[in-house]
Structures are given as structure tokens and as C-alpha cells.
């Protein structure tokens, strides 16, 4: 078993055994969407336009709980620190953890989609929706993994994570909301591919740059 695969198996095992972060991410995301659906006008168009922003804001806020829980397992008993001091590459830790975080957030996003459709009355098509969900969660999981590591030593990490991470992912959130709106309401001006490409660039940049910075955060 390669080192990278072993680290992915480790994170997946812990994710599947301790579902607290997963469930709380889903619950917080659903609550934020519910609150957004109850605020403002209840006309179908207004609800539909709020839906995309509420979905991604809910998923972002939920992701902070999920990511904190994911790093808690590394922090509490010092597992990651011990393996790094024994010679494991911090970069391997980043990519395995970011990949499993992506998987977890993607599943949370899939579970939130029918709730979003029920609350806001509209939703993107399945194929395009999955693509945007994948690109959006890729763009959240990489900086989320890095920032969780940065704030992990602080007692206030649950508070610091969304505060520190939000400014960095604002461009991602704006882009992914635009992509979702275009997919939901139609793309009369042919802008969707530009927004989707921008989202893909954000994802790529985060996975490259955050991976390079991770060793400085944990070592």
C-alpha cells in the first residue's frame, strides 16, 4: 500500500466511523438554507434567485464544521505530528486530507440539493449540477484543509476558521453562485462556460498553492 493511499484509507475510515462532523455540516447547511428561504419575498423568482446563494453559503458554513472535525482527529492525539516527525511528507497529508474532505463535502452537497429544491422550488439539472458541485467543493476543500491546519493550534479554532477562510473563498463563492444561477435559469448570453472555467482555475490554484503552503502550517 503506498503512503498516499494509506493516508486516504485512514481519513476515510475515520470519516465513516465518526460521522459527527458530517452530520453537523449537513444540519447547519440545511438550517442556513431554511432561514434564507424564510427571509425576503416568497415569489418563485425571488426564491429561486436566493436559492443558489443560500445553498453555497450553507455548504460553506457547514464545511467549516466538517473541516474542523476532520482536523480534530489529527490534533487531539497528535497523530499527524507524530508521523511527520517520523519522516512522512506533510504534502502527502495535505492531498490525502483535502481529497477526503472534498469527498465528504461533495456528499453533504448532494444531500443538501433536494432540500434546496424543496425550499426554493428550483434546482440545476443533474449533470451540470454535479459538475458545479464538484468544482465548488474542490475549491472549498483545499483552502479549508490549509486553514484548518493553520488555526488548529488555537483554542478559538471553531471561530477563527470561518472568519479567516471566508475572505479567501469569496471569489469562489461568487463564481459558483453565478454558475449555479446560469445553470438553473438558463444561459441566454452564453456566459456559463466562462464562469465554469473561472471556477476550475480557482480549484486548480487552490490545490497547487495550498498544497505548497501546508507544510509551513503544520511543520
Amino acid at each position: 500500500m503506498t503512503a498516499f493511499r494509506a493516508l486516504i484509507v485512514k481519513d476515510l475510515r475515520i470519516l465513516l466511523r465518526k460521522r459527527g462532523g458530517f452530520l453537523s455540516a449537513f444540519a447547519l447547511g440545511a438550517i442556513i438554507m431554511l432561514m434564507a428561504s424564510l427571509s425576503g419575498e416568497a415569489t418563485p423568482i425571488s426564491l429561486g434567485q436566493r436559492g443558489a446563494a443560500a445553498f453555497w453559503m450553507g455548504l460553506f458554513m457547514g464545511s467549516t464544521l466538517f473541516l474542523s472535525d476532520s482536523f480534530e482527529t489529527e490534533q487531539r492525539e497528535g497523530g499527524q505530528r507524530a508521523l511527520i516527525l517520523l519522516g512522512t511528507s506533510p504534502t502527502a497529508f495535505f492531498y490525502s486530507k483535502a481529497l477526503v474532505n472534498f469527498f465528504g463535502l461533495f456528499v453533504v452537497g448532494i444531500l443538501l440539493t433536494p432540500i434546496s429544491a424543496a425550499l426554493f422550488g428550483v434546482g440545476p439539472s443533474l449533470g451540470g449540477g454535479l459538475l458545479i458541485l464538484a468544482l465548488g467543493t474542490l475549491s472549498l476543500s483545499a483552502p479549508g484543509t490549509l486553514f484548518t491546519a493553520i488555526v488548529s493550534e488555537s483554542d478559538k479554532r471553531h471561530l477563527l476558521l470561518p472568519v479567516m477562510m471566508f475572505p479567501l473563498v469569496v471569489p469562489v463563492l461568487i463564481t459558483v453562485v453565478q454558475s449555479t444561477l446560469l445553470l438553473t435559469f438558463g444561459d441566454a448570453m452564453g456566459q456559463a462556460s466562462a464562469w465554469n472555467s473561472l471556477l476550475a482555475i480557482f480549484a486548480l490554484l487552490h490545490w497547487l498553492l495550498d498544497g505548497a503552503l501546508y507544510s509551513r502550517a503544520v511543520d
Binding site: E77, G79, R81, L83, L85, L86, G87
Partner: protein, 229 residues
């Protein structure tokens, strides 16, 4: 006789004026000693005397502010990655994943550190530390003593050249302490060098080759066994 030291041109572990400051306080000041293969250095001193800081510097977890240390001639700062491949530590907390079983934790270490041990070797080492029947139990449900035994099992599996022990006697019962003494004797016989911070140096009677007594971060004396300080 051509010793390893003479071939390398220096001792296995070389610590010279190693110092570490936290804020304005020197947690460790001018610690110096040398250690050869097969030797055990005991670090003793009260709480806050700098024992753990010294071990953390040697494990490359901390960068010293003054002085230097080498392992097999490799500087612990400039050659950090190489030193990490030679060193294994038992810290508090020991460093593992509580959500994984004992066997899964060792399988993970085996894979990520490319140790090349098979499942039988992992079973054997867990049986050796008395965790054979608990190897499929998550470490979260282990007692503190069982976790310490697990940490010993991992050290035994790693087979590193320099072993750093931070109060390894903590939480161990009488049988666990005998196991620890057996491991130390075996590691010494294998040629590993060991640095052990302890409050119970009498537990290692007859095993220690060198004692470094730290007071307020400063070594007051160090003596080789049988040699007056």
C-alpha cells in the same frame, strides 16, 4: 579497532550548547553531551527543567535558538528530513489515531513510513506488548497504560537508530515497566542510541550509560555510569 565514530569522524549523537528560548525564558540552556550506539542517556530533573524541550529539539519538532546537535553527523536543523528518518519518539501524547484500531494504526505507520513489515510482524509486536487480543479495538477505548504499551509497540516496529523517550514509564504497570526495560535492553543490544527523560531514573538502574541532570534548563552535571560527575 575501527569504530563507527572514527569512521564518521564524530559521535553518534552530538549535542553542543543546545539552547531553546520561549519568550524571554531559556527553557534549555547550553546542554551538551555525546552518545554512542548502544548507549542510553537519562535526562533527569524537575518539571519544567528542559527535558522535553531537549527531546523535542533532537526530534526536530523544535528549532534550537543556540548551539547545535547532530545525529550520525547530520545537523538536526539543516538535515532535518534525514534526521527524521533516523529518529523515533515516544511523546506525551504518544501520537496516534484514536478512531483507528491498534492494528490499523501500525499498518498505517508501516505503509506511510515504508517500513516493509508484514501483517504477521504487526500481530507479533502487538502480542509482545500484551495487546494481541485488543488489536482490533479502536485506541479511543484503550486505557492510558494500554496506549503507552501501544506506543512501545510502534517504537519496536520502527527499529530506528535514535530513540527518544519522554517519561516512558508514565501509566505503565509493573509488567509494563518490565516490558519497557526489556525493550531498552534490546534496543541497546541492537545498537540504537536512546535518550530518555524520566522522573524515575531508578527504573532504569543498570541500563543508563550517561545521566544529564537539568535544573531550570541548565545541565548541572552529566556523568557516565560509574564515573563521578
Amino acid at each position: 579497532m575501527v569504530t563507527e565514530s572514527s569512521k564518521r569522524g564524530g559521535p553518534f549523537v552530538f549535542v553542543e550548547n543546545l539552547s531553546k528560548k520561549f519568550g524571554a525564558e531559556w527553557a534549555l540552556a547550553r546542554a551538551s553531551f555525546t552518545l554512542e550506539r548502544g548507549q542510553l542517556a537519562l535526562l533527569t530533573g524537575n518539571n519544567g527543567s528542559g527535558k522535553t524541550t531537549l527531546l523535542r529539539c533532537l526530534s526536530t519538532a523544535l528549532v534550537p535558538d543556540f548551539g547545535r546537535a547532530t545525529v550520525l553527523g547530520i545537523d538536526i536543523v539543516s538535515g532535518r528530513e534525514a534526521v527524521r528518518g533516523l529518529v523515533a519518539s515516544l511523546n506525551q501524547p504518544p501520537g496516534f489515531y484514536g478512531g483507528l484500531t491498534a492494528h490499523e494504526n501500525l499498518t498505517l505507520a508501516n505503509a506511510v513510513l515504508n517500513l516493509g513489515r508484514d501483517a504477521d510482524a504487526i500481530d507479533a509486536v502487538l502480542r509482545r506488548v500484551g495487546l494481541g487480543s485488543k488489536q482490533n479495538t479502536p485506541l479511543d477505548s484503550f486505557s492510558s497504560g494500554m496506549k503507552q504499551r501501544f506506543a512501545l509497540a510502534r517504537l519496536a516496529l520502527l527499529q530506528r537508530d535514535l530513540i527518544l523517550l519522554d517519561e516512558p514509564e508514565t501509566h505503565l504497570d509493573a509488567a509494563g515497566l518490565r516490558l519497557l526495560q526489556e525493550f531498552i535492553a534490546e534496543w541497546k543490544a541492537r545498537g540504537a542510541a536512546i535518550v530518555c527523560a524520566t522522573h524515575a531514573d531508578d527504573r532504569f538502574h543498570g541500563l543508563g550509560d550517561l545521566e544529564v541532570v537539568l535544573v531550570g534548563g541548565r545541565p548541572t552535571h552529566h556523568a557516565h555510569a560509574g564515573v563521578p560527575a
